[in-house]
Symmetry: C2
Subunit: 376 residues, 2 copies
């Protein structure tokens, strides 16, 4: 049976006592899908046909581009069910895909959800996972239009593909940044990574203890950033309201350094980012202090922030400065200047390196399981 050490029950706030007892084999594949997808009805006019055929049917207008992105999440690599509640996992698995569509300046519309389920999961477990996916879809106004559900020999497999759209003339790629463009970032960075460190610490502390209660007091923001991230739909709307079309954009899943390098590589440019301009929350700083970790490294390389990183022409300076929750952190240079962080002292330049989570690199305990789900 699946055990969740850190969140024994209290995440389920509807007062019911979940039993998680129905063997999936009693329903079979189609029975399980019927149960999971019961009551799902398309919200979008573009969803002509959702679940229930060989393929979903989607109809877009002319001059509208379809966007497609996909993420594969594997138990033991991208998530640890010891402290990640299934409902949160489902929510996050959906939201990280929406984030990729927003990062193109688009709107997510439909997802397909494929699940590989090992024998230790019951129908109720998968319903919890699906409840999180459905909640995310409801909050972001996205239709679930299909998927595939199968057995897995070991662990949970989640593969979500998201379709979205955008007017063809407003799509923002990674490749459009130009020298003198301003580099902007939404929200704050490093909190999700610190949340992961905190959860890992409590997991270790809980080992062998029967009635362990994790201590998250004063660090709720970090936990929320790790377990229930949001995609920055609001920023995409704000950009449109202010009539700003970024020259390039990407969402921060692997860490600011890695994403900046992606933009600069695709745009054939360099960049300068100011250490003292990187937005960091108070709780993130306290936690870094407590764990004796380098705060800027966490903010640069921690990943899973799902904030938007984008560039705008210098002429848009005043307009982006007025945007709530957006900060200008540097500027784009010619390629031969390279990519560097300008240290707090104002003079020292440190070359930016992609140290974000790399699930295919040698094992590195300092990296943690903070997920790499870059569409490429």
């Amino acid at each position: 049976m699946l055990r969740n050490l850190i969140f024994p029950e209290h995440v389920y706030r509807d007062g019911t006592h979940h039993t998680f007892m129905t063997e999936i084999s009693t329903l079979g594949e189609f029975g399980l899908i019927d149960r999971l997808t019961d009551g799902i009805t398309p919200a979008h006019a573009s969803t002509i046909r959702g679940i229930g055929d060989d393929a979903a049917i989607i109809r877009y207008e002319k001059d509208t581009d379809t966007l497609v992105t996909t993420d594969l999440l594997l138990e033991g690599v991208h998530f640890d069910l010891t402290y990640v509640p299934l409902k949160h996992l489902g929510y996050k698995a959906a939201v990280v895909n929406f984030s990729d569509i927003y990062a193109m300046n688009g709107t997510p519309r439909q997802i397909t959800v494929s699940l590989g389920i090992s024998a230790r999961f019951t129908v109720e477990h998968i319903e919890e996972l699906y409840a999180g996916i459905r909640l995310a879809c409801s909050q972001y106004n996205v239709d679930i239009v299909g998927g595939d559900t199968t057995a897995s020999r070991q662990g949970l497999v989640i593969s979500i593909t998201c379709l979205g759209d955008a007017p063809a003339d407003r799509i923002v790629k990674r490749s459009g940044a130009r020298p003198t463009d301003l580099i902007c970032v939404s929200g704050d960075l490093g909190a999700a990574y610190m949340g992961l460190q905190l959860l890992e610490r409590e997991k270790v502390a809980s080992a062998g203890q029967k009635d362990f209660r994790p201590d998250f007091a004063g660090k709720e923001y970090l936990i929320e950033r790790q377990l229930k991230p949001e995609a920055r739909r609001d920023i995409v709307k704000e950009l449109a309201d202010n009539n700003i079309v970024p020259t390039s954009m990407i969402d921060i899943s692997d860490g600011l350094s890695s994403e900046l390098l992606h933009i600069c590589k695709a745009s054939h440019t360099g960049c300068r980012v100011y250490e003292d301009r990187i937005p960091i929350d108070y709780q993130t700083a306290v936690m870094a202090e407590e764990l004796n970790m380098n705060l800027v490294t966490a903010a640069l390389n921690g990943g899973e922030d799902y904030e938007l990183l984008f560039t705008v022409p210098l002429a848009d300076h005043e307009r982006v400065e007025k945007m709530k929750g957006v900060r200008v952190i540097g500027y784009i240079t010619e390629a031969d200047k390279g990519c560097a962080l300008v240290a707090r002292d104002g003079g020292t330049e440190l070359p930016l390196r992609a140290q974000g989570f790399n699930p295919l690199a040698e094992e590195d305990d300092n990296n943690g399981d903070n997920g790499a789900d870059r569409q490429k």
Copy 2:
């Protein structure tokens, strides 16, 4: 290291001796993706932007519907690398998705490919897999537009999502069958299942033998149907050429019985299928005899045929009779007549049951690993 018992080397016919030695960690995620996707350029005008951003960009014309389907394939559940060569696996993983798009009377256009890769695979292994995917895409004129690549704790994970399109007024769903419609099937059934039985038999026979040579003489068709299935693009074209729009259509992945029940459930009808009309190849019959298995059961429930099952109005009788490789096997009835097989004696009616592969049912050794990848 990965071993392939049944096909030690001879599947690689370019004369080179593959060494499969490059550790994936030496390239990292982005290095591996660069290597795998090197030289991939979009063939479709609708592919505005493929690999290399948060999401791919696709543009369709008005009055054209977008189709989306997805399949999740897990090692140990859907395939056994003891006898499935990686290149064949890649080919099949792509083709089964195309088959779902053809089953909607559509044309596959783009796929995303997500891979979970455990430590025993090298770069060359994944290149072999990808070579099969690329070959399938080249043969079926489909663009690879993105994906996600990550580590896996155990075994290979393949998740492919396929987009396609069709004129809105020519899409064929499962739900349009009407009483008196003729039930038609392309090709022949049961061969892929018999191929699987043969491969499993040779796997058992090979156990512990160093220089084992499998005996496939006279059974090449069965092996090909199992390891390198094709999607029936030709049938979709023939239907269009003959100006036939089926009233319902589905591809046969789980077995004829299961698919017929899907059509009848979605269309609120019953059906009668004649045992002596079910198309079965000579090699399939010989193999069933050799293994002392029921031939009709294999054809009804074996699965993985990837043939098209469709219904047409009675008025199209002459036109479908003229179609090469298509056979009329029965007719649609009112729902209250139920779904039944009319036995060879012409009188006995046996209720149709879905006995196809169910990866989420209790283990059943008679079912085998013949894959369930129904979009739902």
